[in-house]
Symmetry: C4
Subunit: 213 residues, 4 copies
Amino acid sequence: MSSNVAETLIRLGAEFHRRGWVLGTSGNFSAVSSRDPLRLFITASSMDKGRLTAEHFLEVEQDGRAVNGASGKPSAETLLHIAVVRATGAASVLHTHSVWSTVLSDVHADEGGFYIEGYEMLKGLEGVKTHEHREWVPILENTQDMKALAVDASGLLRKRPEVHGILIRQHGLYTWGKTLDEAARHVEILEFLFESFGRRKMMEPEPRAMRRK
Amino acid sequence: MSSNVAETLIRLGAEFHRRGWVLGTSGNFSAVSSRDPLRLFITASSMDKGRLTAEHFLEVEQDGRAVNGASGKPSAETLLHIAVVRATGAASVLHTHSVWSTVLSDVHADEGGFYIEGYEMLKGLEGVKTHEHREWVPILENTQDMKALAVDASGLLRKRPEVHGILIRQHGLYTWGKTLDEAARHVEILEFLFESFGRRKMMEPEPRAMRRK
Amino acid sequence: MSSNVAETLIRLGAEFHRRGWVLGTSGNFSAVSSRDPLRLFITASSMDKGRLTAEHFLEVEQDGRAVNGASGKPSAETLLHIAVVRATGAASVLHTHSVWSTVLSDVHADEGGFYIEGYEMLKGLEGVKTHEHREWVPILENTQDMKALAVDASGLLRKRPEVHGILIRQHGLYTWGKTLDEAARHVEILEFLFESFGRRKMMEPEPRAMRRK
Amino acid sequence: MSSNVAETLIRLGAEFHRRGWVLGTSGNFSAVSSRDPLRLFITASSMDKGRLTAEHFLEVEQDGRAVNGASGKPSAETLLHIAVVRATGAASVLHTHSVWSTVLSDVHADEGGFYIEGYEMLKGLEGVKTHEHREWVPILENTQDMKALAVDASGLLRKRPEVHGILIRQHGLYTWGKTLDEAARHVEILEFLFESFGRRKMMEPEPRAMRRK
């Protein structure tokens, strides 16, 4: 892993931990190291994301197994990272696990997701040019069968290639980017939108805008 | 830009980012560099405000274009900064994008704004001498037509020259000051008031004071 | 001012600012420098409490005026600090201005205060030996007449000498201690209790315990 | 105490204080120093957990008394730490005192606890392999009789040895681990779950999942 990528992931880990987005050993981060054959650097299983060092990452093959000679066990969610990279062409996938994403992923699970619209902050999402954008935030049911979850994510991204993130129910956010900086920006943007959407919802359960329509 | 102004803006960027007021690449900051002809230093487009350096600012003319030789693209909202400087004589304009300003700018959009009154903290706003002050917080509809938004802001500031900040719907706060320190103080004061006002509203939707009247 | 006291007040300013308890130029801190005649070191008017230096304090006489030769203007609320020191014998008075204290000081203003009871954290207040304590948190109406407010505070502390803090309506908390450390502890304890009390209230407006009675 | 253990407890104190989980002089931390006879290092009474040094810990015997020659007074809650170590075989016991744990410990006191289920974050608790886990969070009534509280905790842990933490009503969380790192992880996991559970409850008092059943 280039020392640049490692430094950035270590810094993001510390910052997201400070914000309470990767408490415990939750969350995991990956960056593509090779396109052909596909290989990723990914956080090792069960690491405290607030205090990562370069030794806490390892390289995995496209089947999710660690490359020969790598020490440590890849994150259990490696297959999900690979599925996202394959479907989106992303260079980096970041998984955070905040309170607001967790709460909303449960409140809206029955509808399979929710729309966020009208927020200027949406323009921080790649390719969005106006606040008059309707962003679908899909929610997948959680499961411990990581292969099944990877298949679900792949299917979802084929049907809705325009989304910028996926929530797993009571499990937080997966987002990604063409660059590591873009992926990091998407985390901040989406976490901001979740908190704003959640607080808005609590202030006035049925928004005026909706009543007008 | 004087190294003093640059240092202060860099410090404010880091601090506001830590507080979650300029996440993603949201927010932008400017400081007047010349009155005649009018010129501003302003943050370049799409920068992470938590990690600014002096290279992330550029100087713009009064028509919003970068001065000759400047590298980087000025923030898309440059015209709004210029409109505010022209209308108020401010030396600095700061735009933040917090959760509470975003939520309130939507909840009260239909009334075009809201009053904050009775708070001691209001005395932190320039020229306010008593907590028995009623501060009108105007809300402009958001648009991607920056020229139109600048015209709206100019018109608003002509009609209500006494205001200390403007909310753009679902887009956050613009505030300003005769000095950079005053502008920074206005950010802290207004963000505090928004959170207090919002939490007060949630605790008791119809305040007693209102019922008494 | 001893360099120890100065260092502690500077550190507390930075920490309370980080927590959002002294935003803008709100809040002020004092420490008794002499008992006879009574003199206090107090923060100068309009300082950013997050970035204090030793120069931002000045010594005042018991009538609230700066001692000869002191530069800077004492905080407008100096008389209130002096009234509290006289009534309680405190060595330090700290005024913070948090969102939760501001909200609760308004919600309960009509009753002149509110009781906090049953919290283990109450034992952090000087002299409280059990969580089965009922702490009265008095609220004074805000006024810009500082002499009147000082008289109100003196009268209140004569009638209720057992209280550990006073809220001024929509204006935050005054607390104190026999030592600077005790005063600082009281700030943390009371701010914790305000947030807990406020969130408890929002979760269940009429608590079960109350219904049982 | 090994300098490693001391360093970790000092760092945890600073971090938990920053998050508002051990304000005032609340909270206390212990680490087993000897199994036979049982001895613990524990924070001295009334210390600011945000600024601990190695001198703020002392060693105690299994009856809760300081070992010969130790200076300082052990935390009043030493007996509770010892009861937990005896019942669970833990190497470390951490007591935090956050707003959310305090609020929930009161709201659910009448039922003696509450279940948290369906959260992926539960897998951060030792031995939990799936999010389809139901974690019972027991609540003990608070008392100043520490011997009685220690007996209550022992009885509870005999009946429900599978729990990972205990709430004391309006008094916060006790959790533990086979290692100090595991205990620290349990603090972060449980505090995250309390906030998520609490905010979920506030967003929709009667969750859909419950209505479906």
